[in-house]
């Protein structure tokens, strides 16, 4: 666990970046620090590994005061990932990843082996090992940056806007991979971002900071969306929070309707329905067609692809989106293997939403109330 106790950072020019901040980041969880620029989130992060020294207050790592530890040793035990990856241009990808184990004097062959494994784990082809950072794209560099931070298997990781310098598609891939990795590794992570969507997606606990380094609110993402503590947080978490909160609500048993389907290659002519769902031989939905307009055997290019598909075991947001986006207004629901189980209408999803329990509302005095 990482604990801040009344931590203040005042810079020589008089600006107070962080003002008597107290917070706890639980072990094995992702704690996101989020806020507008100037809120002191990066300063707070950098005070943990003492890249910035607090003016007053203490930061403890599993009960040990970081101010009493030797700086270089403290840092070698903490993974550090920064916005532009900060890879060493003169070293190959493999040598970059091996940096901390080599600093710690670990065995060279063992380190190489482990670094190669890590590259694969973060989704990089082993062929990249011999390349130099300048030969990689921004997203690839950031993957190397994550692998490098993990190389010595530190229990704690500090990540300072690691995914904000890449395009949205790559960012989403990196986020998903990061969550899978964290699912396996269970590190204690402090993650800084200015993007509330990223904070809600990645955080087990989200800490919203205000300009001047004041703690505005600290809560689980679902609770944060349901209970913004003041106007600042309400404004910061944004307008779609009611809809986004559905991401944290499991889908209850929905009244699914059996859907008339046809296989790819069959003809839809004569089917008595406005829209008909086309499936493959494993009953995986492929798209909708209109029998009145589709002449002859159904081909791929005739499919309407606007509708999303929701998993029955997924969050309610998926089910509602599936119903709203479907051209037939019937949302496609599949099981975990991707096979069709039925369709649902938007009003049915809404009824389910209205009837669902809202555990995040249960105890409004408990800021860290767990999400459903």
């Amino acid at each position: 666990m990482i604990a801040f106790d009344g931590v203040t950072k005042k810079f020589p020019d008089g600006t107070v970046a962080v003002d008597s901040l107290s917070l706890e980041a639980p072990s094995g969880k992702i704690t996101v620090l989020v806020g507008p620029s100037g809120c002191g989130k990066t300063t707070s992060l950098r005070m943990i590994n003492r890249m910035i020294r607090p003016t007053s207050g203490t930061i403890t790592l599993d009960g040990k005061d970081t101010g009493r530890m030797k700086e270089s040793e403290l840092r070698r035990g903490i993974g550090y990932v920064i916005q532009h990856a900060g890879l060493f241009p003169h070293r190959t990808v493999l040598d970059n990843v091996s940096t901390v184990p080599r600093l710690l004097g670990m065995d060279k062959t063992e380190t190489r082996k482990r670094s190669m494994e890590l590259l694969e784990r973060v989704g990089l082809d082993p062929a990249f090992a011999k390349r130099y950072p300048a030969q990689l794209s921004g997203g690839q560099q950031q993957r190397v940056g994550v692998a490098r931070a993990l190389a010595a298997d530190p229990p704690v990781m500090l990540m300072d806007e690691p995914f904000s310098a890449v395009d949205p598609v790559v960012r989403e891939q990196l986020q998903d991979q990061f969550l899978r990795l964290q699912g396996d590794l269970g590190k204690t992570i402090i993650f800084v971002t200015h993007d509330i969507d990223e904070a809600i997606k990645l955080g087990d606990q989200v800490t919203v900071l205000k300009v001047g380094g004041h703690l505005a609110q600290m809560a689980a993402p679902a609770y944060l969306l349901a209970h913004p503590v003041d106007d600042f947080v309400a404004d910061f978490v944004g307008r779609d929070r009611g809809y986004r909160a559905l991401s944290f609500q499991a889908t209850p048993r929905l009244p699914l309707a059996a859907e008339r389907t046809i296989a790819m290659g069959e003809s839809a002519e004569g089917v008595d329905a406005d829209w008909v769902l086309v499936v493959d031989d494993q009953n995986h939905p492929l798209g909708w067609v209109e029998p009145l307009r589709a002449r002859g055997a159904i081909r791929t290019e005739m499919l309407h692809r606007g509708g999303t598909v929701a998993r029955a075991s997924g969050p309610l947001r998926g089910a509602l989106d599936s119903a709203l986006s479907s051209p037939s207004r019937r949302g496609v629901i599949v099981d975990d293997s991707g096979s069709l189980v039925g369709t649902v209408k938007a009003h049915e999803v809404l009824t389910a939403i209205e009837q669902a329990d809202r555990p995040e509302l249960a105890d409004p005095r408990k800021p860290g109330a767990p999400a459903a």
Binding site: S72, E73, H84, F88, P133, D167
Partner: protein, 264 residues
């Protein structure tokens, strides 16, 4: 004129002996080598320290500017007048010349080391520190390897400048290829003078070529774009491409030209 030059250079009598081309070239390289060595000992640690700590930047910038204004010949006379009575034997001629060469070599060497370290990607430096490298490790493992292209650039400028200026040592009564210019002028032997000038230029170019080869092998392929595999398709954080062309680098080269033109 040209045929006189060819005659002089092809006359084997001019190449052998203690005052022949071979011996004079060795002397010339010796003066240049020792001056560069001493200048490196002073300038490179200082340049690295300034780049690493960020303190004393004004010092390098002003020094590099002021150095352009130093008249080499004038400095040589001052050194000779000042030191000649204090020294004995050959060193009375040699030491003043070496001091001039060292003084000339320091600014480009220091500017190269300083600019090289300062130009290191701040994110790489931050990451190095954040991963637990000590200040010395950051310098040795990250800053110096990344500064090498500019350190080499400064060293090559200094080398060209020193080899060209070592010619002046002959004015103070020492050896080196400058002897052909000074001695030739005394007896109005223009082919000898022209040959001396040509030999200095060729020597400078050959040494620079050798240094270019050394640089090629000393600098990481990650910095020069010679690495294996395809280049990135964009979007990468590439900073190495501007590395060899910082304003200071250009300044080093141009100061080299002005000093050259003072005595050629």
């Amino acid at each position: 004129m040209i045929s006189g030059l060819i005659d002089w250079l092809t006359d084997s009598a001019n190449w052998s002996g203690s005052d022949g081309v071979v011996a004079r070239t060795v002397e010339h390289l010796w003066y240049s080598g020792i001056s560069l060595f001493v200048a490196c000992l002073i300038a490179i640690p200082l340049g690295l320290a300034i780049g690493h700590t960020g303190r004393g930047r004004f010092f390098v910038v002003n020094l590099a500017g002021a150095a352009r204004a130093i008249p080499s010949l004038g400095l040589l006379y001052v050194m000779v007048l000042w030191l000649f009575p204090k020294l004995v034997g050959d060193s009375a001629f040699l030491v003043p010349s070496l001091i001039v060469l060292i003084v000339l070599a320091i600014p480009p060497l220091m500017a190269g080391a300083y600019a090289g370290v300062e130009g290191v990607d701040p994110a790489a430096r931050d990451a190095a520190k954040g991963m637990g490298m000590t200040g010395g490790q950051v310098l040795a493992k990250v800053e110096v390897p990344n500064a090498l292209p500019l350190i080499f650039s400064g060293f090559r400028s200094a080398t060209l400048q020193v080899i060209a200026t070592a010619t002046l040592a002959a004015v103070a009564g020492t050896g080196g290829l400058g002897r052909f210019l000074i001695d030739g002028q005394k007896v109005r032997d223009y082919p000898q003078m022209a040959s001396g000038a040509l030999l200095v230029a060729v020597l400078a170019l050959v040494v620079d070529l050798l240094l270019a080869v050394v640089q090629r092998y000393a600098v990481s392929p990650g910095l020069t774009g010679r690495g294996s595999g395809r280049p990135a398709e964009g979007g990468g954080v590439r900073r190495s491409s501007r590395r060899s062309n910082t304003p200071l680098d250009v300044e080093i080269v141009s100061s080299q030209r002005t000093v050259d033109s003072q005595h050629t």
